[in-house]
């Protein structure tokens, strides 16, 4: 219970940071998707259940702050997280896999979020925003892994 309370508070601050501070410092469609990057870092650290929880709560908070239809961001994040989990099981977790999946997930999320105004969005901004997220996960992933292991314990991989 306490774990989910901590995750909810952290997610709230991440969403607030993304919606205000990062938007002011990086204006335009290339603002880093901090929530997505943190969610993917948690997925690559093998804490899948926590990633789903963050996708649900983070998406709801994001919709509440940005006045988008409630639940839509959660749906996008959940579907993307499931797709990444299924794909990474086959592909592994090498650094280039992490970068590629982060770039692809970020691009898909940006395109979905820009619908139905996609034709009015600068495609270069979508591309560079996704590149930025892929670079950001290089910093966030080790940080998330260390914090989660020290707070919630090491995640043991299941061997069939």
């Amino acid at each position: 219970m306490i774990k989910y309370l901590i995750l909810t508070l952290l997610t709230f601050f991440v969403v607030l940071l993304e919606g205000t501070l990062l938007t002011a410092i990086f204006p335009g469609p290339q603002t880093p998707s901090l929530l997505l990057v943190i969610m993917l870092a948690i997925i690559f650290a093998e804490y899948h259940e926590d990633a789903f929880f963050i996708a649900l709560i983070g998406g709801l908070l994001k919709d509440l702050i940005a006045l988008t239809p409630l639940g839509l961001s959660s749906l996008y994040l959940l579907l993307i997280s499931k797709a990444v989990i299924l794909s990474s099981r086959r592909a592994g977790s090498a650094i280039y896999i992490v970068l590629t999946f982060t770039f692809a997930a970020s691009l898909i999320l940006r395109i979905l979020s820009a619908l139905p105004w996609l034709t009015a969005t600068d495609p270069r901004a979508l591309f560079w925003g996704s590149v930025f997220d892929a670079v950001l996960i290089l910093v966030v992933f080790p940080l998330c892994q260390n914090i989660l292991q020290s707070v919630f314990g090491r995640r043991e991989l299941k061997i069939a």
Partner: protein, 259 residues
């Protein structure tokens, strides 16, 4: 676990379309909006600080240029004061009544961006409970920033003039024939003046204002300044690209014009 979260999300999406969620939404807004406002103010301070160090070399030249502009404007203001005094005397002589100012202004604060990817929609901290409704003009001094696109009880979304869904009729204030056209937003970064007749003269540096012909906004609100003119022989109409007059990120308060 995934299916459980997915079902909860789908349920929230369905409930979100009904009025059942509104009280919970309003309660959540009461908690979120103060954090949003504080966070945005902090973000603007950090941004201004970073911007200062990034532009420190340009600032000296800009300071000199602005001082020149201030001196020029002061001399124009002196002349305009005389014109205003003569206007008042003439009105008094001819017994012409003063025009009532169009509507009242409601002060609101910017608290964030809506629809993250586009950055051409802003959120303000007033809603229908303060008398706001869709279509109202949002202004800063005499500049038109945008229009109210969506309204909740205590918040509203402002569609900026640079948004691709923004349209209004306009005229070139500095053009000899006061050339008329249609202004629309583009890519969330600038505006485009279209449908200008080929025999009209429009130039770089001209100020474009609302014409009031579409009854959406009052006449005379500044939309921007022309930075490039496109006049191809193969096209019937002239077009021009406008520079937005203000940097939105530097503004904290705006006004909603309620007729």
């Amino acid at each position: 676990m995934f299916l459980r979260h997915l079902l909860i999300t789908i349920l929230i999406i369905i409930l979100g379309q009904t009025p059942l969620v509104r009280p919970l939404e309003n309660l959540a807004v009461v908690v979120v909006v103060p954090w949003q406002y504080t966070s945005r103010r902090l973000a603007l301070k950090i941004r201004n600080e970073l911007e200062f160090w990034r532009r420190v070399r340009e600032l000296r030249h800009e300071n000199w240029r602005l001082s020149e502009t201030v001196r020029d404007l002061e001399s124009q203001l002196t002349a305009l004061k005389e014109v205003r005094r003569e206007n008042e005397v003439l009105r008094d002589q001819l017994k012409i009544a003063q025009e009532e100012p169009p509507g009242r202004l409601i002060l609101t604060h910017l608290i964030g961006h809506a629809r993250g990817e586009l950055k051409s929609e802003l959120i303000i901290d007033r809603g229908s409970k303060s008398g706001l409704r869709r279509g109202l003009a949002v202004v800063y001094q005499n500049y038109l920033l945008g229009e109210i696109a969506r309204v909740q009880d205590r918040r509203a979304v402002v569609r900026l003039t640079t948004d691709s869904a923004f349209r209004t009729t306009a005229l070139d204030q500095d053009s000899p024939g006061r050339a008329r056209g249609l202004v629309r937003g583009e890519f969330g970064t600038h505006l485009r003046l279209e449908k200008v007749l080929p025999n009209e003269t429009i130039s770089v540096g001209d100020v474009v204002i609302t014409s009031g012909e579409d009854d959406k906004f009052p006449k005379g609100l500044i939309l921007g300044r022309i930075r490039q003119v496109f006049a191809k022989e193969t096209e019937v109409f002239k077009t021009a690209e406008l520079e937005p007059p203000l940097e939105i990120e530097a503004i904290e308060e705006v006004f909603v014009l309620v007729p």
